[in-house]
C-alpha cells in the first residue's frame, strides 16, 4: 500500500485563535430560531410573539420589507478576533450583501438577510463564539467599552474585563429578559474617551486609596428626547459594581413605564420621579441586593471577571503613567499619503513603542474582502491579535510596533482601507437611515459618505483645526447616529417647500462625549442637498473668525453659548449667515435639490412601524 499523507482542504490552521476571545454564542439557539421561523411561516406562532422572539435574538425587520432582516452582532467591549472577522465576511457573502456595517455601539450588522436564513448566520456566529442575542429587544444591549481601554495613557486601569464580565453576567440572565425597554451600559477608559453620559449606566474608572472603582452615571441616553446621566456617588468600589448594576436593573424593571412606548427608557423614570428620589431608592435597593445576593451568583460574576483579566494580562508592558494626551506622531512632510494617514490614524499607546491604528470606514461599511484583509493585518501586525470597533464606526488595531507602520499602511491602502482622517471631522458618522431602517426619513447613511469623500477631496484631514471635531448624522430624531453628541450633528426630517416635499436635516451644535459630555443644541433646518454647502460655509467663517489656535469644536462651543469673538457671536448670527445658502431654487429649475441622496425620484417620507421598543 502506498504511504499516504493526510491533508484536509476543508479546514485551515486559523481556528486556533478561538481561545483568545470568550464564547458568547450557543449553537442550539440557531436551531431554535429556525424552528420558530417555520412555526411562524405556518401560522402557528402569531406575528407579535414572533417579533418579540426575533428581536430578543438580534434580528430586526428591514425597511418596508419584512421578508428580510438585519442581524446585529454584538461585539462586547468592541473586542474582536481575526477569525471572527473572517467568519462575518463569509456569512455576509453567503447570506447578506457582501458588506458588513459597524454601528455606533460596537455592534457589527449584516443587512438584508432573508428571514429564513437568519438561523444559518446564527450558526456561523456561534462557531466563532459570537452572538446577536439581546442585541435588540427590551434587554441589556451590547456593553460598550472605550476602544482605548488597556492602552489609554490616561486610564487608571483597563476596564475591558469589567465590561465583559457585566456583559457576560446579564446575557441570558432572567432578571433582564423583559425590561420595560432597552438598557445600555457604556464603560470608558478615562474621563475623556467614552460615551458615559448618554447611557443608562455609564462608568468612568477611578482609583481611591489604592482601590479600583468607578464614577457611575445613571439615566442618560439619546433619543427623540435625550438626557445626560447623573453621578450616583463620588466613588463606587469595584466590589460594588455588580450589586449597583443589579439594583439599577431591578429598580427600573419594577418602576419603569411599560405603557407609554415613547417614555419607557430609564431616563424618563429618572426625570419623572426626580434624580434625588431615584438615587435614594437605588442606594436602598443596592443594600437589599447585597444582603440577598447568592454566593453562586456572585461567584459566576467573579469567574467572568477573572477570565477577562487573565485574557489581558498577557500584554502588560511598562506603562508611562504621565497624564499625556494620546499624541499623534508628528512628521514634517505632511503630504505623502502615508504621512497623511500617520497624522490622523495612528496614536501612541501608554505602552511605549506601541501604536494603535485606526481603519477609517465610510459610515461604518466594510466589504467581505476588506474584512479578510483587516483580519490578516491584525494577525500580522498586532501583538494582542485582536481589534476593537469604535463608536465612530471605525476599527482600531492596537499593539503595533512603530517599524511596522509603513507595512500596515501599505497593506491597508492597497485595499481601500487606508483613508486618513480617523480622528478628525472627516470620519463622518451616519446611521443606516433609508438604506435599511423602517423609521428613517432620510438617507443619512449616504449623506455621511458624501461628506467624508468631499472632505477627503478638500484635504480637510491635513488641517489640525479639525482634529477632535465630529459630524454625526441620524436619519430621524431617534439618534442612532448619535447626532446630539457631535460638534455638528444632523437628524433627518421632511418638510414642504411650495408644493414639494423635501428631505431636510435639523442641525445641532456643540454636543460632546466623555465624562463632561453635553448634548448639542438645535440650530436650524437645512435641505439635505444643502448640508455640505452649509458645513463648508461654517468652516470658512471659522477660519476667519476663530481666535488663536482655537479648534473647530472649541469655536462652535463658543458660538452656541453666545461667546463668539468675531462677526458671528451667537447662534442667531450663524443663522443669518446661513439663511441665504439654504434657500432652494424653484423646483422646476433644480428638481435635484428636492430629492434625497441616492434616489432619482421625488422625495416622499415613507416609514413603517419601527421595532425599537418591541
Amino acid at each position: 500500500m502506498a504511504k499516504s499523507i493526510d491533508y484536509d482542504v476543508l479546514s485551515s490552521a486559523k481556528n486556533k485563535e478561538l481561545e483568545t476571545n470568550e464564547k458568547w454564542g450557543l449553537a442550539e439557539e440557531s436551531e431554535y430560531f429556525a424552528n420558530k421561523v417555520k412555526l411562524y411561516r405556518q401560522d402557528k406562532l402569531n406575528a407579535d410573539e414572533f417579533r418579540r422572539f426575533r428581536l430578543q435574538n438580534g434580528a430586526y425587520g428591514s425597511r418596508l420589507n419584512s421578508e428580510f432582516s438585519m442581524i446585529r452582532i454584538k461585539v462586547p467591549g468592541g473586542d474582536i478576533t481575526p477569525t471572527q472577522l473572517e467568519k462575518i465576511a463569509s456569512l455576509s457573502e453567503s447570506f447578506s450583501i457582501g458588506s458588513a456595517h459597524v454601528s455606533t455601539r460596537q455592534n457589527i450588522q449584516l443587512h438584508w438577510v432573508q428571514l429564513e436564513d437568519v438561523s444559518e448566520v446564527f450558526r456561523g456566529l456561534a462557531e466563532v463564539g459570537l452572538t446577536s442575542r439581546e442585541a435588540c429587544g427590551n434587554t441589556i444591549r451590547n456593553v460598550m467599552c472605550s476602544h482605548f481601554a488597556g492602552v489609554c495613557p490616561n486610564e487608571p486601569f483597563d476596564t475591558t474585563p469589567y465590561a465583559k464580565a457585566i456583559a457576560r453576567f446579564f446575557l441570558r440572565n432572567p432578571i433582564c429578559q423583559n425590561l420595560p425597554r432597552k438598557f445600555k451600559f457604556n464603560f470608558s477608559c478615562c474621563p475623556e474617551h467614552g460615551y458615559v453620559r448618554i447611557a443608562d449606566v455609564g462608568l468612568v474608572p477611578t482609583v481611591r486609596d489604592g482601590v479600583r472603582g468607578f464614577r457611575v452615571y445613571l439615566g442618560g441616553g439619546l433619543g427623540a428626547a435625550s438626557f445626560i446621566g447623573h453621578l450616583l456617588e463620588e466613588f463606587t468600589p469595584e466590589s460594588r459594581l455588580l450589586s449597583t448594576s443589579i439594583a439599577t436593573i431591578r429598580l427600573y424593571d419594577r418602576l419603569g413605564n411599560r405603557e407609554n412606548l415613547a417614555r419607557n427608557r430609564m431616563r424618563y423614570l429618572v426625570s419623572e420621579i426626580g434624580w434625588e428620589k431615584f438615587q435614594g431608592l437605588l442606594l436602598k435597593e443596592r443594600i437589599l441586593v447585597e444582603a440577598t445576593i447568592s454566593i453562586p451568583t456572585k461567584k459566576s460574576y467573579d469567574g467572568f471577571l477573572n477570565t477577562g483579566d487573565l485574557n489581558n494580562t498577557s500584554i502588560s508592558s511598562s506603562s508611562t503613567k504621565s497624564k499625556i494626551k494620546l499624541p499623534v506622531i508628528n512628521s514634517n512632510s505632511a503630504d505623502t499619503p502615508y504621512t497623511r494617514w500617520l497624522n490622523t490614524n495612528v496614536v501612541a499607546q501608554k505602552q511605549s513603542g506601541y501604536y494603535s491604528v485606526y481603519i477609517t470606514l465610510g459610515a461604518g461599511d466594510i466589504t467581505s474582502s476588506q474584512l479578510r484583509i483587516l483580519a490578516e493585518c491584525i494577525r500580522e501586525f498586532s501583538l494582542e491579535k485582536k481589534a476593537r470597533n469604535t463608536p465612530q464606526q471605525n476599527f482600531l488595531v492596537r499593539y503595533v510596533k512603530a517599524d511596522q507602520l509603513p507595512k500596515v499602511f501599505q497593506k491597508l491602502s492597497g485595499n481601500g482601507l487606508g483613508n486618513p482622517g480617523a480622528n478628525t471631522i472627516v470620519s463622518t458618522v451616519g446611521c443606516v437611515g433609508t438604506t435599511s431602517c423602517n423609521l428613517a426619513i432620510t438617507n443619512s447613511h449616504r449623506l455621511a459618505k458624501e461628506i467624508q469623500s468631499k472632505f477627503l477631496e478638500l484635504n480637510i484631514d491635513l488641517d489640525k483645526d479639525f482634529v477632535d471635531s465630529t459630524i454625526k448624522i441620524s436619519g430621524c430624531p431617534n439618534s442612532c447616529g448619535q447626532h446630539e453628541v457631535a460638534t455638528i450633528g444632523f437628524y433627518g426630517g421632511a418638510t414642504r417647500i411650495g408644493t414639494s416635499m423635501v428631505p431636510i436635516y435639523t442641525m445641532l451644535f456643540a454636543g460632546s462625549t466623555g465624562e463632561n459630555g453635553e448634548l448639542g443644541k438645535a440650530i436650524m433646518r437645512i435641505p439635505a442637498k444643502k448640508v455640505l454647502d452649509v458645513v463648508l460655509k461654517i468652516f470658512e467663517h471659522f477660519k476667519k473668525e476663530r481666535t488663536g489656535n482655537e479648534k473647530l469644536n472649541e469655536w462652535i462651543y463658543k458660538i452656541s453659548n453666545g461667546n463668539g469673538a468675531g462677526e458671528i457671536k451667537n447662534v442667531d448670527d450663524m443663522k443669518k449667515l446661513l439663511l441665504p445658502i439654504i434657500e432652494l431654487p424653484a423646483f422646476s429649475a433644480a428638481p435635484d435639490f428636492y430629492k434625497d441622496y441616492g434616489t432619482d425620484t421625488n422625495f416622499v417620507a415613507k416609514t413603517a412601524r419601527g421595532e425599537c421598543a418591541a
Binding site: 499523507i5 493526510d6 482542504v9 476543508l10 453567503s94 457582501g98 476588506q370 435599511s436 447613511h445 425620484t601
Partner: protein, 296 residues
C-alpha cells in the same frame, strides 16, 4: 474562493492523497458502466484519469487552457458552447470531444463552478447522463499541486445519440405559468442587491454565494438540504432557477438543488436578460436605498 495557505508538496507517484470528500465516492458498480455523482471529488477524478476512464472538460478561455490544464482535459470554452447552443450543436460538440453515450465527463472552470455548471447542464439537456462538476476550481487544483499538463488533447470523433431532456428546461412562457403555481418555486440566484432591485415576480432569492463553501464549489449535501428546509422548500417541490444573463449562476444553483436532493429542478437558461427584453413584468423594490450600504 478556495485558497489554501500552503500548497501541498506531493511526493512522486507513490502518494495517495486523502481529501475530505463532499460527495460519497463512486459506488462500485460493474466496471463497464460506472456512474458519477453530481460533484466529483478530487480523489475520484485522479483515479479515473489514471485509469483513462473519464473525459475531463476545461471550460475556461482557450488561452488559459493552453497555459496549463488538468491532465487529459479537452478544451471547450463556455463562449463556444453559448455561441450556438441548440441541441444539435451540443451533440456535435460532444462528438468532437470524443464523448459517447457512456463516457464519464467531469467539468471544471476557474469561476467557482458556474461556467462548468452551465456546460454540464447543456450536456444533460441533450441526453448525456454521466456528467459531474469537479469539486474544486482549476486554481485550487493547481495550488494543491495535482497533475496538470500543457499539451492540447484531442480524441477521436464519436457519435452521441440525442435524447433531449425537457424536464430540466424552462423558458419564459413556462415561468409565467409557474408564477402562480404553489408547487413550483422560482429561484433567482443573483446576489441580494440585484434581486432587491428587480426580479421575476414571485421568485425567491438564493444567491449563488450561499451555495459554495470555503474549499468547494458546493457545500455538502446535508448543509444544502438544511438550507432548503429552512426556506420551507420541500424535496418534492418543482424548482426553476434563473440568473442575470446566460444561466451560469443559476446553473450552479441547479446542481446545488439537485445535490440537496430535490429531484425536479429546471433551468431557465435565457434567464432575466431575456425576461426583460421580452418586456415581461418584474418586481422592483424602491423603498430603500440598500445599494448605499455596500462598501464597494
Amino acid at each position: 474562493m478556495c485558497c489554501l495557505s500552503k500548497p501541498i508538496k506531493r511526493k512522486k507517484n507513490d502518494v495517495k492523497v486523502k481529501v475530505k470528500v463532499v460527495n460519497k465516492r463512486v459506488k462500485t458498480k460493474p466496471p463497464s458502466t460506472p456512474s458519477l455523482n453530481l460533484v466529483c471529488d478530487i480523489d475520484t477524478l485522479r483515479t479515473l484519469i489514471k485509469k483513462n476512464k473519464v473525459r475531463v472538460v476545461d471550460v475556461r478561455k482557450r488561452d488559459e487552457y493552453l497555459k496549463g490544464h488538468i491532465k487529459t482535459a479537452v478544451s471547450l470554452p463556455l463562449a463556444e458552447l453559448l455561441s450556438n447552443d441548440d441541441p444539435e450543436s451540443i451533440i456535435n460538440i460532444l462528438n468532437n470531444l470524443g464523448i459517447s453515450n457512456d463516457t464519464l465527463v467531469v467539468i471544471y472552470d476557474d469561476t467557482f463552478g458556474a461556467l462548468a455548471s452551465r456546460v454540464a447542464w447543456s450536456f444533460k439537456f441533450v441526453g448525456h447522463r454521466n456528467v459531474a462538476l469537479l469539486e474544486v476550481t482549476y486554481d485550487n487544483w493547481k495550488k494543491l499541486g495535482l497533475e496538470i499538463e500543457r499539451k492540447s488533447n484531442k480524441y477521436s470523433k464519436v457519435s452521441h445519440s440525442i435524447d433531449i431532456d425537457y424536464s430540466i428546461f424552462a423558458d419564459a412562457e413556462y415561468i409565467e405559468n409557474a408564477q402562480n403555481d404553489k408547487n413550483k418555486i422560482i429561484i433567482d440566484s443573483r446576489e441580494r442587491l440585484n434581486f432587491l432591485t428587480e426580479h421575476i415576480p414571485n421568485s425567491k432569492n438564493i444567491p449563488y454565494t450561499m451555495l459554495r463553501s470555503e474549499n468547494s464549489i458546493l457545500r455538502n449535501p446535508s448543509e444544502l438540504k438544511r438550507f432548503m428546509e429552512n426556506r420551507g422548500i420541500d424535496l418534492n417541490n418543482e424548482i426553476i432557477t434563473y440568473c442575470g444573463s446566460v444561466g451560469t449562476l443559476s446553473g450552479l444553483a441547479f446542481f446545488a438543488l439537485k445535490t440537496a436532493g430535490i429531484s425536479n429542478v429546471k433551468l431557465y437558461p435565457k434567464s432575466f436578460k431575456e425576461w426583460k427584453s421580452l418586456g415581461k413584468l418584474k418586481t422592483e423594490f424602491k423603498d430603500a436605498n440598500y445599494w448605499d450600504l455596500s462598501a464597494e
